[in-house]
Structure formats: C-alpha cells, structure tokens
C-alpha cells in the first residue's frame, strides 16, 4: 500500500530530535541507522508509520524516529501492534524490543503474532543481557555466563530466537548485526516489504555488560553471510538447520522467506468485513436483534 514515491525521503527525515540514552558504542545506534535507511528506501511518510515497542534500552527506539511511536510496557509490543494493525490496516507497523522483552516477559505473545500473520515487522535487538537494569542474565544469555544474577555462572540453556520463530511457522525470518549496517538495513527493508509477519533478530551488542566476543569488532571478524554459504532461503528445513548455530556462530541474512506467502490476517479480515457488510443493520437499529414479536 505504498502511497509515496520511493525517492521522496532521506534517512534523516526519520531521525527525531531526541538524543538517545544509549551508552556510546551501543549496537542499537547501528540498528537505528539501518531503520532510518530502510524507511527512506520504503518511502512511506513518517505519519503513516507506527513504531511500537516494549520496555528496555532498545525499546526507546521509537522515540528516536519521526514516526508515530508507542513506548509501551514490558513485553507487550506485539499485542499492541496487532490491535493497531487490525484497526488501521493502511499503516506500516513496526514492533521492536530487546531479547528480554520478546523472549522472556513477552515470550508468550510471539507464537500468536506469528500464527495470526498480520503484516507487521518485529525487530528484536538481542544483546543477551538486561542492560537497563544493569546486567542481569537474559533469556538469550549463554549457559555458564557470569552476571550479577548468575555470579557462579548460569545454569540455564538460552533461548534460540531464530529456531523458535522458524518453528512457530513465521514466513520471514532474518538475522543481522550493526557490524554490517548496509546488510542490516537491506534486511529490514525486505522484512517490511514482505507481506506478512516478518522477524529480524539483530545481534546488537551491549558495550557495558556484554562480553568481548559479543562486540561489534568481534562480529566483524566472525560473521558469515548466509548468501555466501549457498543457503536456500525458500527452505524452512535448511533455515532450521542453519538456525541451530545461534550462540556459536554468527550467520547473517535471510534464513527463511516463504516463497508463496499465505494471506495476511488483515486481508482475511477485510474479506470478512466486505462479505458481511451488507448484513449490517444501521448501528442505531442494532437492538432489533433482541426484538420479540
């Protein structure tokens, strides 16, 4: 439903005047840049974009854009985004948050957002820690990791966001890193253009509480592009196989893109609305449903 010419906007048109609260060197700066570029490439004006987030360092991100933003409560970006998209299907709806937001407190919402398949793009800035509360164990923290809540080392296995979301049946799953902003921005643009629920996991380093091997410098050294590995993004099985490397390798790119995307929730809703609209009594006569002759 693009209503504007693709060249009309520059990345800076999506940059707000708010100064990010992030630590210098935070990976989220790169994610923000990539989002500005992707939105400029898409070309929808800022007022037609709604950016919904939860709580956490990364969830501050809507405020740093000129789009309509909603920095809501912890873990609930997806329900709010889905309600908004159903109410205003013409909008471009983005949801974002951290790994705690998406895979701990809000983890129950992800499979349902996936199965409903409305046209929403969900960006998780996965830094394997709770940064805003100062460095506790997060759902994607590696087993054995030492943090303030696991001083003797974590005893738990981490969540694998890619594997989860692929297994939930998402039609579009990708992973990027701010170590490669052009790659990340292209991936986000593609996710937004994809008609249906799209998920982008970004390995976005925490400079303050992250480990050395999780920083941008390390990413540059270890990242491998799926494209270069001969990966077939039309195969969910291959994607599931590649996704198993989460936590040990850094494979970036589109893991899975459904070659024949199923209808979105929004399109099914519109069909139903259109097919039933003729049966509507005028609103002011709705009580006729209860008439007793």
């Amino acid at each position: 439903m693009t209503t504007a010419v693709a060249t009309q906007f520059a990345p800076k048109d999506f940059k707000s005047e708010l100064k990010p609260i992030w630590c210098p060197g935070c990976g989220d700066f790169g994610v923000l840049q990539a989002i500005y570029r992707a939105l400029a490439a898409i070309g929808r004006p800022p007022h037609e974009i709604a950016f919904i987030s939860g709580i956490g360092c990364s969830s501050r991100i809507p405020g740093y854009t000129t789009a309509y933003g909603f920095n809501s409560v912890h873990g609930r970006a997806l329900p709010i985004a889905q309600g908004l998209k159903l109410a205003r299907p013409e909008l471009l709806v983005l949801a974002a948050g951290g790994d705690g937001d998406g895979f701990s407190i809000g983890g129950g919402h992800v499979p349902h957002a996936v199965r409903r398949n409305d046209d929403i793009t969900y960006i998780v800035m996965d830094n394997q820690t709770y940064g805003l509360t100062k460095g506790q164990l997060s759902p994607t923290s590696a087993k054995g990791r030492h943090t303030v809540t696991s001083p003797e080392g974590s005893l738990e296995n981490p969540v694998n966001p890619l594997l989860y979301v692929l297994a939930y049946g998402a039609p579009f799953v990708a992973q990027g890193t701010p170590a490669d902003i052009p790659g990340l921005s292209a991936m986000i643009e593609e996710a937004i253009r994809f008609p249906g629920f799209s998920f982008v996991n970004v390995q976005s380093p925490c400079v303050t509480y992250g480990e050395e091997e999780q920083q941008i410098k390390a990413h540059k050294a270890i990242m491998k592009k799926l494209d270069d590995l001969g990966h077939d993004p039309t195969s969910r099985l291959q994607a599931l196989d590649r996704a198993q490397s989460y936590g040990t390798e850094l494979l970036t790119g589109v893991y899975f893109r459904d070659p024949s995307p199923p209808p979105t929730l929004g399109s099914l809703v519109r069909e139903r609305q259109e097919s039933l609209s003729a049966k509507a009594k005028p609103r002011e006569r709705i009580l006729d449903l209860f008439l007793q002759k």
Binding site: G63, I80, A87, L91, Q292
Partner: protein, 595 residues
C-alpha cells in the same frame, strides 16, 4: 389473581431447566408480561447442578425477587445446593420429582412448611410422552401454564421453535409432554388459585441479557475493536462481537491471554478507534498494568469487568460486588479512573454508551462493573430509543493545533487534543514512561507533578455530573438507602415496600462510582439520620470508598455480605424498620431529663 410470580427450578445439568426458563421468559415477552430470568450453575459444564429463577409480573421487574412462589426440584440434592438462591417459605408451592421417594411431609426443607407440596411424576410423564426423561422440562412448563395461566400458546410456540430443527417427531413429543403437564395441573388444582392477571399490553419488547446488550451498546457507540480472552461470566460479550462487529467494518481479536486482549485494544485506541475489552476478576488482575498504561498515555478505552465471586478463581458462576476496590485502586501510581456500574439489563445499554463517551471525552480507561447476575440474566425490557443518545468523539487537533502538535498540551481542562497514526503532522511518541507535554520521556519531578495534576484535574467536571445518579423516594427523608449494581434493583423494590409501610425513605443509586461526586452525596446525606449502603461484598466496598472520601452520617451503616447470598427486598425493609425503632429510642433517650 396475582400480579407477580417468582418461579425457581433446579435440576442436574442435562435436565433442561435453563432451557425451560428461556422458553418461559420468551413466552412472557410475547404475551406482554415483564419478566426476568437468572441462571445459576455449578462450575461443571455437564452433569453438575443448574438452576434458574423466572420472575414474571404485570409491572416492570426490578430484581429476581425474594422467596419463591413456586419451587421445582427435579431432584433434592441439586435443589439444596442453591440454598439462599432458591429460598422457600410458607407461601411457596413446591413441586418435586416423585421418584425421589420423599414423602410430601418429609421434604428436606429445614424449618418451613410450604403452602402446597406436590410429588409430581415428572420423569414418568416425560417417558410416557417422549419415551425418555428428556422432556421433563416440557412437563414443568405445562404445569406452570396450567396452574398460573401463563400464555399456553406462546409457550407451545416456543417449544415448536426450539425443536423445529430436530424434527417434527420431537416437536410433537414435547407438545405431548407439555399437555401432560397441563392436564396434571387441571387434575390437581391448587388449594388457592394463583392465576396471573392479564398483562397490560405495552407494545413490542426486547428480550436480552446484560452481556449481549453491553456488546450491542458498544457497537452502537461506534466501537470498532474488541480484544479479549474467554472468561466466565463475561465471554458472551466477545462472542457477540465475533458475530456482529465485522458487519460494521470493525474487528475482534480473541487474544492468547488477558494481557494481549487489552494490549490489542490499547493498540486500536492508539490508532484512533473506539475499543473495548471485557473480562472478569482474574482477568482484571492480569490487565492492571495495561490499564495503567492507558491512563498515562491518555488513551480512551472501555473495560468491562463482569464481577464474579473472588478472590482468585473464587466462584466463577456467582455474582459478587467485590471488585470496586480493584477498579478504583489497582494499577500502581496516582491515578483516577472512572468506574461505572449498570443496575439492570436495560441500563447496561446506557452505562456502556456513557462509558464510551467518558472514555473518549476524557481520554481515559473507563471500567464498567457489571456482575454475573446482570450479565447473564435475561430480561424482557422496553424498546430503547437510540436517537435519545449523544455519541462523543475524542477531541482531535485542529490545523492550528498541529502546528506544532503538542500531544500532552497543558490546557485549562486538562484534556489535550489527540491525534492518531495516519494524521499528518500529529506524529508523537505515546508512552508508559512519564513524559513532558511533547511526549518526550522525562524523569523530572517537576514535570511528573504537573502531569499527575493534569491527568487528575481533567476529571473535575466528571465529578460534578449529577445526571449519573438517580435519587428516588422522599427527598427530605431521614432514612437513606444507597446501592449499586444488581443490588440496586432489590433496593428499588425495598424502597416502595418501605414507603408503603409508612417509612420515610430515599434511595441513591450511583451509576458513577468513582471519582466520587462529593457534592451530590453531601446534599443527599443532609438531614439523613440513619440508613444503609447495601452491596454484595463482605467488606462493603462502596461504603468504605465513600467514607474515605466524605463524611457519611454516623447512622448510615454498611449492609453487606458475600456474593451468591442475594438480598431480598423484605429483609432490607426489616433492617430499615430496626433503624427507625432505634432512632426513635435514641430520640427518646435524648429527651429524658438529666439526673
């Protein structure tokens, strides 16, 4: 001739007790009677006990009534489980299944000898008519038609309609069962005839319950989105939306949990659409955080809590009025949230439309406290003139206010024009985080103070709306009743009974429970010497909220008890008479000379 008839029936889940009640109430609507039916179940889906009460009258029915005029026990074990919900007294006609083997003078009703007792072979009659015992409910209907003269043809029409889909054979079988009931009544007349007076025909009626009319009111008010999760006893609201809302270009989301349900509704409201969620106690507990979000983000939202017994799972199928504290005080922070309560099926429509108007005007979540009784009871009500209602839309920014747009602008009213995604120039950041006028996050104590002041000040006008209260009775009366929700209907009847006994009483029914209209209560309590705040909760929550906010006269006390123990009008009158006596005693004491 009688003008008011209260029938209570109980049986096990498969006996069709509720279905018989529905046929009866629908027949009453066709005949032009006023009627109300309440259902009560155990929590089981099948095989548990179920019951219903049907009250039929020639004048409007205000509540399910007190003691039964007719008690029908298809088996005693199930009947007795309902205790106070199906009270029997010396005027009651009791019918019970003969096969229970209990002698009429040995029925297990402690401490009463009912006016008339019949051991009826319901099962045998059904077997004779249908070949199995499934038609017991049709026999019951025949008995009621025969003894009380209620619309035989209308009941038969209802039976035909109900069984039409299942084939002519079953229709005829149930007609035979009904006829056997009628014949039994003719062969065994009541000692005192109790035929119902003919209804005064007053035009077409609506037959519905509190949940359905609530959802219909929402759609009438322009609600285009519902997000929710199934929970007893509110689920029928969501079900109505799933049938109807598409026709109006809206949508409904059955969410994965209560939090997602209200989250989606907040999202739709952020998108500029009128939105609703509905739930019951446990769901309200889960939704609290997002209710707070809607308050700070100043988003209109209507939340229905169909109250049931609590805390925790409590009693899912029983009514209670114990969630007022939660409505007023839950969700953290300094917040004022409007709380409204309907008192019957018909005014659930008014209250729901009002809730949307308040939500939109004040940009706030509004809680409707319905309860299981109102929500699930069927009432025959007069047609509602929808053209008498005004619908309010949220105040959107004008072109001048968009240049530049300041979402949370400090205005004299505290209400700031609100844009929504899609409006060019209205772009802003909504947030659960404290923010300045522009919506930018802040941790400034000064701004936090100003914003709290704005968000609370904006309700000043709402607090002065006297039209959200009804005051009935003798304006100068020294005795006062205050009641809300489904209990208010009992007090309405108590008021007329008390006045008929010469007591000078008035009754205040608030539809707006919070914020408290202090001026109105003060005026109402002026000159009041004694009274009762009547409500179905152990703690007496409205009484306590009032005492927190204003000086309630010391003679006004709380008359309250836990849910599933319904009040009867007569006991409220007795309580008032006690008050009157002790007041006279006190006055006499004052006049005694001091030694």
């Amino acid at each position: 001739m009688i003008r008011d008839l209260v029938i209570g029936m109980a049986g096990s889940g498969g006996d069709g007790i509720v279905s018989a009640g529905e046929s009866l109430v629908s027949a009453c609507a066709s005949e032009g009677y006023h009627a109300m039916m309440t259902k009560s179940f155990g929590s089981q889906i099948r095989g548990g006990e179920s019951s219903c009460r049907v009250r039929i009258a020639t004048c409007p029915v205000l509540n399910p009534g007190g003691a039964l005029d007719v008690a029908v026990a298809l088996n005693w074990e199930d009947f007795l489980k309902f205790g106070a919900e199906l009270p029997v007294n010396g005027d009651t006609v009791v019918l019970y299944e003969e096969k229970t083997g209990v002698a009429p003078d040995a029925i297990p009703l402690v401490g009463v000898s009912p006016a008339e007792v019949f051991a009826v072979p319901f099962g045998d009659m059904a077997r004779k008519a249908i070949g199995n015992e499934k038609g017991k409910n049709s026999v019951v209907l025949g008995l009621i038609a025969g003894w009380f003269g209620i619309g035989r043809e209308s009941i038969l029409a209802g039976i035909r309609k109900k069984f039409a889909r299942k084939g002519e054979e079953l229709v005829q079988a149930n007609e035979r069962a009904f006829q056997l009931g009628v014949e039994y009544a003719q062969a065994n007349p009541l000692k005192t005839s109790r035929l119902m007076e003919e209804p005064t025909r007053s035009g077409t009626k609506l037959l519905t319950d509190g949940n359905d009319i609530c959802a219909a009111a929402a759609i009438f008010a322009g609600c285009e989105f519902f997000g929710g999760y199934p929970i007893t006893p509110s689920t029928e609201i969501m079900q109505f939306f799933t049938r109807e809302v598409w026709k109006y270009g809206g949508s409904v989301l059955q969410a994965e949990d209560e939090i997602a349900g209200i989250g989606a509704a907040v999202g739709a409201s952020f998108g500029g659409k009128k939105a609703m969620t509905a739930t019951s106690g446990p769901g309200m507990s889960l939704k609290s955080e997002i209710i707070g979000l809607a308050s700070i983000a100043e988003l209109p939202l209507v939340i229905v809590n169909v109250q049931r017994g609590g805390p925790s799972t409590g009693m899912p199928t029983k009514p209670e009025q114990a969630d007022l504290f939660q409505a007023v005080f839950s969700a953290h922070g300094d917040v004022v949230r409007p709380v409204l309560a309907p008192t019957c099926v018909s005014d659930t429509f008014d209250v729901t439309v009002e809730a949307f108007n308040i939500a939109e005007h004040y940009q706030t979540p509004v809680i409707i406290l319905s309860d299981q009784e109102i929500a699930q009871r069927k009432e025959v009500i007069d047609v509602i003139d929808t053209s008498a209602f005004t619908l309010v839309e949220r105040q959107r920014p004008t072109a001048a206010e968009m240049n530049p747009y300041v979402r949370f602008r400090m205005t004299p009213s505290g209400i700031s024009p609100i844009s929504h995604p899609g409006m060019k120039g209205g772009n802003y950041l909504g947030a659960g985080i404290e923010h300045n006028e522009h919506g930018d996050p802040t941790a400034s104590g000064r701004i936090h103070q100003q914003m709290n002041e704005k968000r609370i000040r904006k309700f000043d006008r709402l607090k002065r709306r006297d039209d959200l209260f009804s005051i009935e009775g003798d304006a100068e009366a020294p005795f006062a009743l205050v009641s809300w929700g489904s209990t208010a209907g009992v007090c309405r009847e108590a008021l007329s009974l008390a006045r008929a006994k010469g007591l000078r009483v008035k009754l205040l029914i608030p539809k707006l429970l919070f914020p408290v209209n202090e001026g109105l209560y003060r005026r109402f309590f002026t000159g009041v010497k004694a009274g009762l705040v009547v409500e179905q909760s152990y703690l007496g929550q409205l009484y306590r909220v009032l005492r927190m906010t204003l000086d309630v006269p010391s003679g006004v006390t709380s008359f309250c008890r836990s849910g599933a123990n319904p009040f009867a009008p007569a006991e409220i009158v007795r309580k008032l008479q006690d008050h009157a006596l002790s007041l006279q005693q006190r006055e006499a004491d004052v006049r005694q000379p001091v030694e």
